[in-house]
């Protein structure tokens, strides 16, 4: 055992040394030299592409990554320029962003918010990414968006359809180009009323998680406004693969329309079950029984095969669109990868261009400057016609496509046909709409970070 004697002199000495030790670290706080998080100083700027490479949405993630790589190529002046040529803003000139060459890092979100945040954090802390983009589920998008808000970088959301991303959980540093549940409902309802009449009785099967809830709410509200009646809304577990026990009660309920608020594998299975049960050949209340799928994607249509024929749904974008922007994008994507892009690829490509353009116009990478340049910005030529990035909630407002499964597909990519393009006025809502979290939900202040 050591003997310790406390003397006044000894104590003074020790505390002086300890004090110096504590003061020392402040010399090294070099971060204050930067005006904002990860300010690019060299000749390059790094973007972080955070997509699911494993897990249930790996296919969408792979397609998103392809689109990101294409966007980087175009920003750096490679390839044929894609939508840069049709974009209404001409700020980008193929020399990178603000003269800095665009580089990127990739990460795997695994469709889990924890993994997605870890991956995004490593991009910010280790690789010095100035912007994070990606995500293919709303849970992940909301989690990463909140992280970017805290860290002081911009988040450009990828495939996320839930209202919450730009509703209840909106953030000043986060932006979404993709449409949302409310828009799906608002776009579908009139088309459904036209096709199936105003006196339908609907039965909802809803995936039991946030996206399912917001979609059900949106579709219910819009269809009930048209005069439809909702007989029942049943929640199904996300992990369910066999929906027969949920389909059987539909017929007894007296409903004549089934709405499947399912996405991905869920939708493939529930739709297949419903068709196998012969629902579509049934007559109820003197009408043909109908099925509706609010959110469609090409990959889902592929999974469900012939069962999707004639079934209505909505989508953000489809490669068969004939405007200049879409044609240019499909052409350069097809040349590079050999098949047409999905809607996930489209929205992520557009988000990257929009970010680059905003930086260019703002003349700065500072997140607050970029956010200001994006807010209430109107643009065209990116495949969805005239589009507005609304400043109040950082959501893009554009026409919504109502599609249905094609009767005679000519290829494995040609599965959906566009029934109607619902004009943007019909899907616009107030920023404090109750479905969007009401007046309590606010963007907060933008954050430049360090």
């Amino acid at each position: 055992m050591s003997k310790s004697n406390f003397t006044r002199r000894g104590l003074l000495k020790t505390s002086a040394v300890a004090g110096a030790g504590l003061a020392l670290p402040t010399i090294f706080t070099a971060q204050s030299a930067h005006a904002f998080t990860n300010e690019p100083t060299g000749g390059t700027v790094t973007l972080g592409f955070n997509v699911p490479q494993t897990g249930p949405y790996a296919d969408e993630g792979a397609d998103e990554l392809r689109a990101y790589q294409l966007a980087v190529e175009h920003l750096n002046g490679g390839g044929d320029g894609g939508m840069l040529n049709t974009f209404s803003s001409k700020a980008l000139d193929g020399t990178g962003i603000l003269g800095k060459k665009v580089e990127y890092v990739t990460g795997d979100t695994q469709t889990k918010s924890d993994a997605a945040r870890a991956s995004a954090k490593s991009m910010i802390e280790k690789d010095g990414a100035i912007m994070i983009t990606g995500g293919s589920s709303s849970g992940v998008a909301v989690a990463v968006q909140a992280l970017c808000q805290e860290a002081g970088v911009i988040f450009m959301a990828g495939l996320t359809h839930s209202n919450d991303t730009t509703g209840k959980d909106k953030k000043a540093n986060g932006f979404r180009h993709f449409f949302n549940s409310y828009m799906s409902g608002a776009a579908l309802a009139p088309v459904l009323a036209n096709a199936y009449g105003n006196d339908r009785k609907a039965y909802h099967l809803t995936a039991d998680y946030n996206w399912g809830y917001t979609t059900e709410e949106a579709v219910r509200a819009s269809t009930e406004a048209m005069g439809w009646e909702t007989v029942a809304a049943v929640k199904t577990p996300l992990t369910q693969t066999d929906f027969s026990s949920y389909i059987a009660p539909v017929l007894q309920s007296g409903a004549d329309t089934l709405v499947l608020n399912h996405y991905g594998g869920n939708m493939v299975n529930s739709l297949t079950n419903a068709v196998q049960f012969g629902l579509r050949d049934k007559q109820v209340n003197g009408k043909d029984f109908q099925i509706v799928v609010p959110l469609y994607s090409r990959l889902m249509a592929k999974g469900a095969g012939a069962n999707v024929k004639g079934i209505f749904g909505s989508t953000n974008w489809h490669w068969s669109l004939q405007d200049e922007g879409s044609k240019a994008f499909v052409k350069s994507f097809g040349t590079k990868y050999g098949f047409p892009p999905s809607q996930a690829a489209h929205t992520t490509y557009v988000q990257t261009l929009l970010y680059a353009d905003a930086v260019q116009r703002a003349g700065s990478f500072a997140p607050c400057a970029v956010a200001e340049a994006l807010e209430d910005y109107e643009f065209d030529g990116l495949g969805n016609g005239k589009t507005l990035y609304r400043g109040a909630d950082h959501q893009c407002f554009k026409d919504v496509l109502v599609v249905k499964g094609k009767e005679n597909p000519t290829s494995e990519f040609d599965l959906l046909e566009i029934v109607e393009v619902t004009p943007v006025e019909q899907v616009t809502y107030a920023p404090d709409h109750p479905q969007m979290g009401g007046p309590e939900a606010t963007l907060g202040a933008c954050n430049n970070g360090a």
Partner: protein
């Protein structure tokens, strides 16, 4: 010293040294070199190393000592996280009450789960715990959405006003320790090297050292011996008149509280919780960590946690372009070929690499990485010496 024998003290000092110097050790490559990709010395990953280290240490207390394989340990991690974040949202943004809350909630939950599950042993116990964990996951994901935030999880919002806080209107609260922000770090530039010293990491590291110390004490205590007795022959123990159940339950609860501590720390470092933290793959991960590092050893679980988190965060970020950069010096055809060969094992293929590593360890080093280390140590010691005649003497089991 500290009630440890010489060997344990040595181990404790080594672990202390490693964790305190981690920012240097994990960043061995200069920033501008191509190898910088393999640097792991950034705050988030360092925090994860120690936090999952705690999780694995706790798991090892149960699995390594009593042999009860819990396949639902992530549930306690998740429950602890939810407890901690609610504490932050409602009471105080200081991390200490939040972490305590995480431990307490996980402790209470593990008493309930343990009381039921420990009535069975072996595979039945594993399946019961798995069932409980999946149940908690499903509850958090959908049924309990008002409490857990469902799929989107919980975060600190700008509208949250904890009782003990002085936030301005519209300001979003941040986790802190008496005013010190968890994300505060200072950077040290030496030549081409950049070392980051993060406040949150050091707090987590100190907590891990305490957790590690407690685990050594439990391993060496009469209670630990009792747990080992349960592992080697529970029936014999009952026949000698000892009731094993209170001991297993105690071990289970301690282990659950360790998981809760890890969960609370996760929230303290990154104020967000999602239900997938409780998914069965997360429970499986901690089993992998422990087995990879070495079941029943003190340091093994920490090593295993480090290896798995390293792969998840570093290997998964290497993409095709990075590979092409590395092998750019080769002729075109060969470069493409090598990239083609390597690509399946990196990026999204990191699971595959981890799987192969796990198989190799289980087949060739049943004692985990610790056994590998011991073998190397022995080999260095015996190098040059003539083979002795007797070989080592094994104590009878």
């Amino acid at each position: 010293m500290l009630g440890l024998n010489k060997k344990d003290l040595q181990l404790m000092l080594i672990v202390t040294g490693l964790t305190m110097l981690a920012p240097f050790i994990l960043n061995p490559f200069p920033e501008s070199s191509g190898m910088a990709q393999f640097n792991a010395g950034y705050p988030d990953l360092m925090q994860r190393f120690v936090i999952f280290g705690i999780f694995a240490i706790g798991f090892n207390l149960l699995f390594g000592l009593t042999g009860y394989l819990s396949f639902g340990h992530a549930a306690f991690l998740g429950v602890g996280s939810y407890g901690a974040i609610w504490m932050m949202k409602l009471v105080s943004l200081n991390v200490i009450p939040a972490i305590f809350m995480g431990v307490i909630v996980a402790g209470i939950f593990s008493v309930a789960v343990g009381y039921i599950c420990l009535r069975r042993s072996g595979i039945y116990f594993s399946i019961l715990t798995l069932a409980f964990a999946q149940m908690s996951y499903a509850l958090a994901y959908s049924v309990l959405t008002p409490i857990t935030g469902g799929e989107t999880g919980l975060q600190i919002k700008s509208t949250d006003r904890p009782i003990f806080s002085s936030l301005e209107e519209g300001e979003t609260g941040r986790a802190n320790l008496f005013g010190m922000d968890m994300r505060q770090s200072f950077e040290l530039n030496i030549g081409d090297w950049l070392f980051t010293f993060n406040a949150g990491y050091y707090i987590a590291a100190i907590v891990m050292l305490i957790a590690f110390y407690v685990s050594i004490r439990i391993f060496r205590s009469p209670f630990g011996l009792m747990l080992r007795a349960i592992k080697s022959n529970q029936t014999r123990m009952s026949y000698t008149g000892l009731n094993p159940r209170p001991h297993t339950l105690a071990a289970f609860v301690i282990s659950g509280m360790y998981a809760g501590l890890a969960g609370g720390l996760l929230v303290a470092m990154d104020t967000q919780v999602g239900p997938e933290r409780m998914f069965w793959t997360a429970s499986g991960e901690v089993v992998l960590m422990t087995i990879l590092g070495g079941v029943g050893t003190l340091i093994g679980p920490v090593l295993g946690a480090g290896v798995i988190k390293y792969m998840e965060n570093i290997l998964s970020k290497i993409n095709k372009d990075v590979l092409h950069e590395w092998f750019a010096f080769m002729p075109d055809g060969l470069e493409d070929f090598i990239v083609f060969l390597v690509y399946p094992f990196i990026g999204k293929g990191w699971h595959l690499t981890l799987g192969i590593l796990f198989m190799l360890v289980v087949i060739f080093l049943p004692g985990g990485l610790v056994e590998g280390g011991q073998r190397i140590g022995k080999w260095i010691k015996n190098r040059g010496k003539a083979k002795d005649t007797g070989g080592s003497t094994e104590p009878a089991e």
